[in-house]
Symmetry: C2
Subunit: 424 residues, 2 copies
């Protein structure tokens, strides 16, 4: 099922979907040539927003959680794609050490790790889960809500190799930890292949660099399809040196908010969009939806009260906000039984392997749906996004999902460009 | 569902399946290194026989029909694998010209072509079906039993390129025609990529070369797993210059039948197999089960009556038999509701994408199940063969299918070796 589009204005999206369908061979061929030119991240998830007049990525995660939310029917696709990735990155690999986040109390997250482990095992690898938590001093079984269990084990470093006390010596270290708290010494200068590379962690990664790369990818793709790149690309700007506590950088922030709002207004006028433009203000580094504001007027960022400033100043694991991203807000007019729905696309290697909707009853169409304390219901896609059907309407299930898969892959490609630039 | 194994002696197979399971990481790693060293055929299907004491390939088809018999749940795997193959072989491809067999009256075959076309379209290619039949002088829609239709179109050759009258100029020619009638001039010396290569057709291909390559592949794999290669490999021998009409070559045939039967007897004694050894005598080139005999004693090939000689002397499209393969017969003790079942494994690129059972109520456990006039019921595998589950018994559904997928891939690897040798 595809959610209901509640906007009156969905002509631009229908045109876009129609274009994706009719140009599918050209699109897939273009992607194939891109895969040859870039090193693709091992896995990626992309948050999309669909306003009916625009379908755009708003966040690209290189350490995706949520594999447990995918449709079990498409797990074979994950296994096959993982085999393809391993083949390219480390064909000689026997063992993989997975390093998860330290959220041992988040059982949904642990189910994600269990699912990821299962995918890698079925792809033919020996998989062990190494915890960065100091309290994990021996193999520790964690019970999962689905009745399964997951064993976290302490990591040992010998010289420049990570392994385990019983001699487990993996060829590859797979990070499912976004390194928001910095890169731990134990992970530095390893001789093993680390996927994704340490630079992909939030210690060094910046959303503004990602969306700058996405600008170029989206422009090239839009040229290929002869479409307005704005239809798939949100405007953005950034401010460095913002300190919400000390109230420095507020003027820069207000000015950039104003700039982006003006840019959006021009496009809204061009396409006859009647909604109010808005921007999302969030940390340029970091994740988990902490420190995120919806802003419709520059004045709103000038006069933050103490509570708002505290909320913005702290992100995951206490990282200080200093660089701030101001991103065009894209309305979510997708709606499942009255609840707002945001699609998340999953990729392993360069293959789209599924996705799900974050469905949230208590949030607005202009709010971030991946926010703190947020308890969304995941609704697995019923299609694997690889199956357009030209005999159906452009917004029918397989075709809407194909469009998601195209935009998701564009964001993943931008991440590949971004990582290559960081490693230069 | 996995068919019931009706043999009392299934210990060797259980051991084999157990070994495949416990060594899965080593097996998959070995396959990955093989994929790097060999050019893998675009697609392959492999007929297996499972006697409980042995699981072996008996035929490897490089122009597989029967894609319509696969479980629709796993079509996404076919699409993803096709994308992977195209990416490696011809990333720049936009259009594909599929050249099917000339069986326009075989509606099951036409459904296979339709399914194959659908897979390629969903992988993002422009696909047209070019017929070699002289009577196809304009686009001709064929009705399919499932309600769909398929358009066959005349091919045009311009210089060294194949295309169609309206300017369709494909990058790739995909053969789904095994060239039993010889290589038509229109296919010779094309500048386009032809997949599989023309050498893979029965004009030049020989089963004895395939099984000679399989001998080496199976030996190397058996060494890796420390198993007896006979458990996965049928003995074979060949005779050249056999003319059943002129009754020349009968002595060679009888001698080779005797040799292979003796070899089998030694192994049957070693494993305590109580059944009668038998061999299958078939054309070394050619397909579709024409000219196939089950033989339990050398005398049987010495005194063929006229009817038997006529049956053996003619294969598909009138090719004359001259080289003959004598292959160890492998009993089929897999049984679905009393009917004999033979598994067929499908691969696209090097990925196992599914399979089905040929189920036949009126044939014996020692007969070829892909014989003329044979109307088998296809029973799609419920598993994609990529999903072993170490928590289940070695002969439980996912694990039995994993074993099929391993042996199927060994045969496909042998085909890759065989093709490389032919092209040297």
């Amino acid at each position: 099922m595809v959610p209901h589009l509640t906007t009156a204005l969905k002509g631009p999206l229908l045109d876009l979907e129609r274009r994706f369908l009719s140009e599918q061979p050209a699109i897939e061929r273009w992607f194939r040539t891109q895969w040859l030119e870039h090193t693709i991240p091992f896995y990626t998830s992309v948050d999309l927003r669909n306003s009916g007049f625009k379908l755009a990525p708003v966040d690209t995660n290189l350490f995706p959680g949520g594999f447990n939310n995918l449709n079990p029917d498409f797990w074979p696709l994950c296994v096959q794609a993982a085999q393809s990735a391993i083949e390219k990155i480390c064909p000689e690999a026997r063992g993989v050490l997975v390093i998860p986040e330290n959220h041992t109390r988040n059982q949904y997250y642990l189910q994600n790790v269990a699912q990821l482990t299962q995918i890698l095992r079925q792809a033919g690898l020996k998989v062990r889960i190494g915890s960065l938590l100091p309290e994990i001093t021996q193999p520790t079984a964690m019970q999962l809500p689905n009745g399964g269990s997951l064993t976290l084990e302490p990591i040992q470093r010998k010289g420049n190799r990570l392994g385990m006390a019983d001699g487990f010596d993996p060829c590859v270290v797979l990070l499912n930890n976004d390194l928001s708290a910095g890169v731990p010494d134990i992970l530095k200068n390893l001789e093993q292949n680390v996927m994704p590379p340490l630079e992909a962690g939030w210690t060094t990664r910046r959303k503004s660099k990602h969306f700058a790369a996405y600008d170029r990818v989206a422009d090239e793709f839009a040229k290929l399809l002869e479409i307005d790149p704005w239809l798939i690309n949100p405007y953005f700007a950034m401010c460095g040196e913002v300190d919400f506590h000390a109230r420095t950088g507020e003027e820069c922030l207000a000015a950039q908010v104003d700039t982006v709002l003006r840019q959006i207004r021009v496009k809204y006028a061009e396409y006859g969009v009647k909604e109010d433009p808005f921007v999302i203000v969030k940390a340029d580094a970091g994740t988990y939806g902490m420190g995120i504001m919806t802003v419709k007027d520059p004045s709103e960022v000038r006069d933050l009260n103490r509570k708002q400033r505290n909320k913005m100043a702290v992100v995951k694991e206490g990282m200080q906000v200093s660089d701030v991203l101001i991103q065009e807000g894209v309305y979510t007019f997708e709606d499942i039984n009255g609840a707002v729905a945001e699609p998340v696309i999953y990729m392993v290697d360069h293959f789209v392997v599924g996705g799900f909707y974050r469905v949230h009853t208590s949030r607005g169409v202009d709010e971030n749906l991946n926010a703190p304390g947020m308890s969304f219901s995941p609704l697995a896609f019923e299609s694997c996004c690889a199956f357009p059907n030209p005999d159906c309407a452009p917004d029918d299930t397989p075709n809407r999902f194909y469009a998601y898969g195209v935009v998701g892959r564009l964001a993943m490609l931008a991440a590949a460009v971004e990582l290559a630039e960081m490693q230069q």
